[in-house]
Amino acid sequence: MEEKFIRNISIISSIAGLAVLFFISKSFQLNQTDIVKLGYEDVGKIVRVCGEVSSNYSSKTGHRFLKLKDSTGSINIVIFNTTAKKFNLNSDSICVVGTIDEYENRLEMIAKDVKVM
């Protein structure tokens, strides 16, 4: 009886916990980072940057490559086709959440989420 009770409590807590995590993950917002502050020590980190799109083009396979500028600097943003499908990328002012990466000795950001400002 005791074991069954704990088992049921575990399952209920698991489901409740998943629901809480799901809603938190949807509403959770990282603090905005100035582009100039990004360095090679940030490679692998998830950050949020906001700014104006200064260039925007797509590859044949649907990957999108943007250049995002804020008042402090600019960074190249890569949005893979599977991610790009989910977002409206026609706006000029956007916020991007993604992972900082290094490609050919330059910093770039692999987007996970894009929101229109």
Binding site: I11, S13, L18, F28, G44, I46, T82, T99
Partner: protein, 405 residues
Amino acid sequence: MFLEILLFTLAGIFGGIVAGLIPGIHTNTLILIVFNLLPLLAGFPVQAVVALIVSMAITSTLVDFIPSIFLNAPSEDTALSILPGHRLLLEGKGLEAVFLSVIGGIGVILLFIFLSPLMVKSLPIIYSFAKPRMAWLLLAVVGVMILTEKGRKKLWGLLMFLLAGILGLITLNSTLMQPDFVFFPLFTGMFGISSLIISLKDKTSLPQQMKDFGVVRKSLALIGSIKGFFAGLLVGILPGLGSAQAGTLVQTITRKEDNREFLVSLGGINTANALFAITALYTIGRPRSGAAVAIEKILGNFGFNDFIMLIAVSLIAVGIAAIATLFLSRKFLILVEKIPYNKISISILSLLLVLTIIFTGPMGLLVLVVSTAIGLVAPLTGVKRSLGMAVIILPVIFFYLGINL
């Protein structure tokens, strides 16, 4: 350069021992630390730095078994050793459990030396076959894992798989935590804290432990190492498949319930995984482990000489790490026997909670609570704990099916 490589290899072995003894620290966390220290190592040959990373990664995969068996506190790669290792510990054979894991590590590296020419030729063929079928291969693994549960347990198994898989989808697709540490609360809760809670609930006490490593049959060592070798091959070339899933798959397919053989295999898989990741980097040019990513970034072009050098470094690391693991396990046992097991469990539980807060903050703590609750479902319903690995498997299946949530 030889001296530098040797010194860095020894330094890596020392780092791997220290990190392996700290519960819950994964090799990739170590590599990240070395990566942050790269500017300090700028004057040294890049091959020496790479030797440091490889020896550290290989050493920690063996030493990791000490806390995972004696303290119930696993890293990602040793998560599944808890049950068989813990069972032997409760039979008074904790030292034998560590010994079996070490045998696997040594057995696999010997097999690798003999079979490496064949592996170098066949890896690209195996990889090109598996890559387009990755999602289906993983679904088959999951199918086998659930369908081999008995009767009603199939449903519990499915529930466990779905709960863990959904947790993985939510956490790995969110920005709740930095990617470097996202697996820490997931695995610590799913396999570590849930086991500690069960131990505390059952008022587990550590029985008198045997003071020797026991005698292991040669056939068991050989078969366990061969299984570890091939399971490690799967892990080394297929992205997304971890040591634990491969171990479970091999154990399930061969229908072996032998704890001892499983421990040999698991010890072997972790070493094989590291070796095949280096081989995959050389033959197919793709990094398949944290260490391989670091090697690729530091070396740039990875040639035949680098490959041979790293295999030699791996040999040195396995040899020294095996001796160190056996020596340290005796010392660890003395420590563990002096302190009541419940106090150890509570101390480890507290340490894991503190590490979770330090590494991942309040969000990590929340993930830890949920993963612990899910981790409890398996032992309380009597299904395979390895189904908790769905926390990685389901997101990888979604990725390969092109489903982006």
